[in-house]
């Protein structure tokens, strides 16, 4: 029996299941060609060949579940998807296993980076100590979400005056917060 490139995968697999080794070889080669781009889009290129081997072995082991009648591609890609998912699950599991636990490094970390409550309170307190107009501008722009132009309308000021006032407020805050933690 001869094989031609026009043979469909279904007929090749049908012949393969009847014991035609050459048809089976051609079917597997074509399956590998179909699978490479599918895998290449979904995983690191260095792992493609390994997973492709696993898929071809799975195809070989489960070929008795294909009857040579129904479309071949859904059957092939169902196995490929199963193997790929399995591989990715293992890969991520390994990554987690070898991932460093932050608790192991607690002693050498310079400071507690998540403790923001005091800092927020300190900033609020510093804003409260600013002149009333500057504090109000900062509140409008950073708490209420106003733009400088909108704040200017609210404050009955020009936009430039608001910007200058905000700039002065930032400078004052910078000076005040420079000593954060010392009082």
């Amino acid at each position: 029996m001869s094989e031609s490139l026009d043979d469909s995968m279904e007929s090749l697999m049908g012949r393969a299941l009847r014991g035609d080794g050459r048809a089976y070889q051609l079917a597997l080669s074509r399956a590998a060609l179909m699978l490479r781009p599918y895998l290449g889009r979904r995983m690191h290129p260095s792992a493609v060949e390994d997973v492709l081997q696993e898929i071809l072995i799975s195809v070989h082991k489960s070929r008795h579940t294909y009857d040579g009648m129904r479309p071949f591609a859904p059957w092939l890609f169902a196995i490929a998807h199963y193997r790929l998912t399995d591989y990715l699950r293992r890969a991520y599991k390994d990554k987690l296993r070898f991932a460093a636990d932050i608790a192991d490094y607690e002693q050498i970390l310079p400071a507690d980076v998540t403790e923001t409550g005091h800092e927020y309170e300190y900033i609020t307190k510093a804003i409260g100590q600013l002149p009333e107009k500057q504090a109000r501008i900062l509140h409008l722009m950073h708490h209420e979400g106003y733009t400088a132009k909108e704040a200017a309308v609210q404050m009955n000021m020009t936009e430039t005056a608001v910007k200058v006032s905000a700039h002065r407020a930032y400078k004052l805050l910078k000076t005040k917060l420079g000593g954060y933690g010392n009082d």
């Binding site: 080794g21 089976y24 597997l28 060949e49 071809l56 070989h60 082991k61 070929r63 579940t65 059957w75």
Partner: protein
């Protein structure tokens, strides 16, 4: 590239034709026949309930048995379809058991509310569950052993449906052996544990059917 080519050569060099697996409908018919034969053996061994002649005239009892047979048939078909990697390209069949299961729930609720006065509760409870579980062991192991030779890509679902199938076989057998008709007892000790069997099946599927 050489490795893949070598692998393909090695795999294709394995001689001989491959015996293809039968279609799911044919397999389902065989499994249903085997299951009913197994139920018949259990009933013969443990003795049929003494009031069976009267019960066979009771529509609710007959409907219950009929629904159980439908559940066994549909779960068998579902799990056999699941045993193909591509789910035989008709995944809708997998959901088939939902129809008789929904009907069964409706039937149980109807019998619970319709039993006036309610049938007396038997003094036992857990014994029924143990009995059903023991009856289910053989079909569960048989089905799992078969599924292991296949290539299910949905091992969780396969395991769950397989154990619901086996548990239903146990339920059917016990309903023909035990002379109890209390709807409350049946729901509590016969049919609610079917949910537990599905959950155990999920875990069993992962352990036994992963390939």
């Amino acid at each position: 590239m050489a490795t893949i080519d070598e692998l393909i050569s090695t795999l294709s060099a394995e001689p001989g034709a491959v015996r293809r697996v039968r279609g799911p409908w044919q397999l389902c018919g065989m499994w249903l026949a085997l299951s009913l034969a197994y139920v018949a053996v259990l009933v013969a061994v443990f003795g049929i309930r003494p009031d069976i002649a009267a019960r066979l005239m009771a529509p609710m009892y007959m409907a219950e048995l009929g629904m159980l047979v439908l559940i066994i048939a549909s779960t068998a078909l579902s799990v056999l379809v699941l045993s193909y990697p591509d789910m035989r390209q008709s995944p809708g069949l997998v959901c088939m058991p939902l129809v008789p299961l929904a009907g069964f729930v409706a039937l149980l609720l109807a019998s619970l509310w319709g039993q006036v006065p309610p049938a007396p509760l038997p003094p036992h409870g857990m014994e029924c569950l143990i009995c059903i579980s023991l009856f289910s062991l053989v079909p569960a192991m048989g089905l799992m052993a078969y599924l292991r030779t296949q290539a299910s890509t949905h091992y969780f679902t396969s395991g769950a449906v397989a154990l619901v199938n086996a548990f239903s076989i146990g339920c059917l057998a016990l309903r023909m052996v035990e002379p109890t008709d209390s709807a409350l007892h049946l729901i509590q000790w016969h049919y609610l544990p079917m949910i537990a069997s599905a959950i155990i099946g999920l875990a069993a599927g992962r352990i036994v059917l992963k390939w």
